[in-house]
Amino acid sequence: MKEEPLIKKYDPEIMRKILSFSKPYTLHMTIAVIALLLATAAELLLPVVIKTAIDGNILTPDPDPAALTAKGVLYFFLLLAVLLFSFVQVYLLAFTGQMVMKDIRVSLYNHIIRQSLNFMSKTPVGSLVSRVTNDVETLNEFFTSVAASVLKDFSLIIGVLVTIFFLNTRLALITALSLPPVFIAAAVFRAKARNAYRRVRSSVARVNAFLSEHIMGMEIIQMFGREESTGKAFGKENEVLLRAQLLELYVFAFFRPLMNLFTSVTVGVVIYFGSSRVQEGDLSLGVLIAFLSLVQKFYRPVLDFAEKFTILQSAMAGGERVFSLMEESEIIEDTGKGKSWEPGRGKIEFKNVSFSYKQGEPVLKNLSFTVYPGETAAIAGYTGAGKTTIANLLTRMWEIDEGEICIDGVNIQDIPLEDLRKGVIPVQQDVFLFAESIEENVRAGLDLTEEQTAQAARAAQAAGFIEKLPGKYRFDLSENAANISTGQRQLLSFARVLARNPAIIILDEATGSIDTETEKNIQKAVERLTENRTSLVIAHRLSTIRHADRILVLGSGRVQEEGTHEELLSKKGLYYNLYKLQYTR
């Protein structure tokens, strides 16, 4: 498993991209920042109110209890303002974060879905999924952690400094002396915490991967008697995780108390120097008390700030992966866009088509053949002869290198991609069904009535088993349709193609074995599928071959022989050998 970087240095380019996604929410963010500043200001005013109360109403020659109550009321309203503005700020930033995540996710998803199959087959599904889900989720940290906390911490630090300087410059200068060691400690903490964080994250990932894999493979472990060694291997991974966690613990266990200690030192210094000033009458007791409150608000944000920086960096790493995926693009261009095309009777022509998946390894060379309207043509050939490739090319899942493919005389390049794929539908070897109801799977995005859905299912011989399921058409398929049999899956895939009634179908038969009961149904369904339309059958079964009007035998990238089953057998050529080897024994 490839390890992905968890942390990345601050990158203005990524920041710029995130900000471009947040542009629609500029108003939200502006209000949030204003609310944040107001909340911070109100919070800093609280100790100032206490100071003025002490100096102006309590410790004066003529104390005023009524004014004291007024100060209490003022204090209350300031608290209320903090509550309100904090909420507004948290809410709006979270909202922005959520909306931006949604927008990025949707545009990334739409981007990926447009990519060619060539791109998709090169990129593991798992990594694409984690781009769209986890990596985008880390971007949310920009708004919830970075924007919210960092802004807040930052404004609090600045605010405290401004307030104490405003209250008393000399005392503030003395307090500020504690800043350099605090910032140095915070910087050291940041580096240590980041390393620890990285180690914990990667060990957690390893332990989880180990667990999930070995739970899935438990039967194999037990069957081969490898319980003990597997247990030992797990113990090792588990130990690595503990070490990483302890390291992280030590970092926090050291720096959190250290910051508390800094607070105490500063309090001590403030009292020591402050008391002599008070004694000399240069400083009021209220100011001293306000100082003490403010100083205590000061150090936690510094540590927070350092901690959030690591989160920012991991968000950077996620952001980079997300945005670099958005920049990669490999799409099949819709060259026929805007042109009008109506499927005719479905004549397929391959004219000198050459194609290779990888350069230098041609699969098809100057391949030419014609399938006439309404005909059922079977393609036979050894494994790797390029049978399945033909289906990929006809629907423009891949682009040919040379030559021309025409449908009813029109080059497929000149047919709008969507129309082409509506007119030519392949039924694939490996059936993929969606974890939705049977009904949804048959409709597959079309607006079909219940009757139309059932009709398609009947035509595909699928109605029989569907009627027996609990809930019938509403029966929910599980992941990978594991709750119905292989054969039933095949029938459903026929049903959804029949529902679309394409002019041309390409049937890529399953190589795998299918239970016999459905085998009969499949044969019947195949008859229905190929009825009244042009069909290209990539045959693995003899029965299908026998039913074909014509068989094209593919070899070395071109058609080597063609004719009916009997004609080809009597030729005693390539087909004869193939037939003997592959279809009988």
């Binding site: 959520q98 599904v125 588990n238 995005g445 592959q582």
Partner: protein, 576 residues
């Protein structure tokens, strides 16, 4: 609630001394913290009096600093000892869970989804860890500090203390109340995320179908909906969460407001000194955390207990397939007999295998044919006791297989399961899984039997090539052939193959079978297949239908008689 957490006791006992030292550190932290405001009070009170001397203030502050240093050390201490122990407990418990999982049979793994087990080993472990670490700290700290400070305030300030403390208990109440909702909303956010992940995974796995059937727009629309729903769930949490912390600050602020109004009056009336006023500010601020802590303790413990309960469900599951107390030595060279075997999966009452009688002759290859659901795979899994047969129904050397040592039985039966599973290590390690000390030449020999040599040439690292996670980089046929090689390498006396070539093309299958039978000469093979052409190479074939044997005989005999075998042969285009 505490009943479930009892599981932790033996672990906690293991780290008893660490816990005790941690608790002492915690108490020292609390004591020191409570003492500091008193020093500040003394310093402030000496201001403006004749007794003022800078020297005295200096002494007081130095005392305060030394206390602060000790408190810092004690803080490190309790984190080191208590939280450190909770991490160690987590490790021990995780190991215990995994070791226990290794002993459980497919009865368990069939009834609990793997995602569910994972959730217990990860999320639930995390809440148990919090319960064994932070919850203890919060509880002890919360009790000591809150009781300590509150009694100190009452003793010193009486009524004034009562008035100013009044709002603070609401902090605990709010946490208790909001905790429930936060938990609920948080869960719904997590579920929303799983939904989102699942939808994404499905789209990308099925991209071919989506493109072929031009379903792009439909999927985009659905994805947008899932996203909007996920956003809504998040915002519901934010609305609560965003209010929660500011509200706690608000309540603690109220306390200070009351102090300002009533404490201020007390200073004016000379009931308390300005120093008292300062100390009170410190104490009230200091009270917030323990009161929050008390609320969190209840939440953390509740969550921890619920999680522990789920983990206990695993730990309490007794391994149902185990070696007998007095195993007998294994008979290698003997027939395997199935006697009147009827089997229903545990927890169900409809048998999937009904009154089967059969013999798998030693040194012969026995084939099995049957439709999906006819009970073939179940029958095969009973042989190595991946499922447990009823007593006296499966015999090797006329001895019930349940009398053999489990490891010995399994070592003698090689198995190729229907669903191929490979580990995400190298091809070499996968093939040598049953014989870890096998050399490369031995492995290559196996590779040539299962027709892997050509494929290996295309892999960058040969047999050292990493199999992508769960075999993604290999084709289905390649995976099946590796699994076949894995079972073949230890050269077991009996080889059980459950439809091992379903994804291998017939051509390749044919040549593998040829070499396989050569290699397995004189050994027992059991082979399930859907292909009559494959079964025609067997010495004897059983045909299963609806859990019963409906036909038996040599392939030649079966081809002659009316029945399922012949029917399938015709379907598959065999010349009958």
């Amino acid at each position: 609630m505490f009943k479930e957490l009892k599981t932790l006791l033996p672990f906690a006992r293991k780290y008893r001394s660490a816990y005790i030292i941690g608790f002492i550190c915690l108490l020292a932290t609390d004591a020191g913290e409570m003492y500091i405001p008193l020093l500040i009070k003394k310093a402030v009170d000496s201001l403006g009096t004749e007794g003022f001397s800078l020297h005295r203030i200096g002494t007081l502050m130095l005392l305060m600093l030394s206390i602060a240093v000790s408190v810092g050390a004690a803080r490190f201490g309790w984190r080191f000892f208590i939280i450190g122990s909770s991490r160690r407990i987590e490790r021990d418990l995780r190991k215990k869970i995994f070791d226990h999982l290794l002993t459980l049979s497919s009865t368990f793994f069939g009834s609990v989804k793997s995602g569910d087990i994972m959730a217990r080993a990860t999320n639930d472990m995390r809440s148990v860890r919090r319960a064994s670490g932070m919850a203890l700290v919060a509880f002890l700290d919360g009790t000591v500090l809150s009781v300590g400070i509150v009694s100190l305030l009452f003793i010193t300030y009486g009524k004034l203390a009562l008035v100013t403390i009044l709002p603070l208990p609401f902090i605990t109440l709010i946490i208790l109340f909001a905790g429930k909702f936060i938990k609920k909303y948080f869960k719904s956010v997590q579920e929303g995320f799983s939904l989102l992940t699942e939808r994404t995974r499905e789209t990308f796995s099925g991209i071919r179908v989506i493109k072929s059937l031009t379903m792009e727009t439909y999927f985009k629309k659905k994805f947008l909906q899932v996203n909007l729903q996920y956003k809504e769930r998040n915002m519901r949490l934010v609305r609560l969460w965003g209010f929660f912390f500011p509200l706690i600050s608000f309540i603690s602020g109220l306390s200070l407001m009351l102090l300002l109004v009533f404490g201020g009056r007390a200073v004016i009336n000379k009931q308390i000194t300005p120093g008292d006023f300062t100390a009170l500010i410190s104490y009230l601020v200091m009270l917030i955390w323990p009161l929050m802590g008390m609320g969190f303790t209840v939440n953390i413990l509740q969550r921890g207990a619920a999680s522990m309960g789920r983990i206990n469900n695993i730990l309490k599951t007794e391994p149902d397939i185990v070696s007998p107390p007095r195993p007998v030595p294994f008979f290698k060279e003997s027939d395997i007999k199935v006697k009147n075997l009827t089997f229903a999966y545990p927890g169900t009452d409809s048998p999937v295998i009904k009154e089967i009688n059969a013999v798998f002759r030693r040194g012969a290859t026995t084939g099995i044919l049957g439709r999906t659901g006819s009970g073939k795979s179940t029958l095969l899994k009973l042989l190595p006791r991946l499922l447990d047969p009823p007593e006296g129904t499966l015999l090797i050397g006329d001895i019930d297989i349940r009398n053999y040592k489990l490891e010995v039985l399994r070592k003698n039966l090689g198995f190729v399961p229907q669903d191929t599973f490979l580990f995400s290590t190298t091809i070499r390690e996968n093939i040598s899984f049953g014989k870890p000390d096998a050399g490369d030449s031995e492995i290559m020999e196996i590779c040539s039997i299962v027709s892997l040599v050509k494929d290996l040439e295309n892999f960058p690292g040969g047999i050292g090539t990493e199999v992508g996670e769960r075999g993604v980089t290999l084709s289905g046929g390649q995976k099946q052939r590796i699994a076949m090689g894995r079972a073949l390498l230890p050269d077991p006396p009996v080889l059980i193959m459950d439809d091992p070539f379903s994804s291998v093309d017939t051509e390749t299958e044919s040549s593998i079978l040829h070499r396989l039978f050569e290699k397995r000469q004189g050994k027992t093979n059991i082979l399930v297949s859907h292909r009559v052409s494959t079964l025609s190479r067997c010495d004897y074939v059983y045909v299963l239908d609806g859990g019963r044997i409906v036909q038996r005989g040599t392939p030649g005999e079966l081809l002659m008689e009316e029945g399922l075998y012949r029917e399938i042969a015709v379907l598959q285009g065999e010349d009958v």
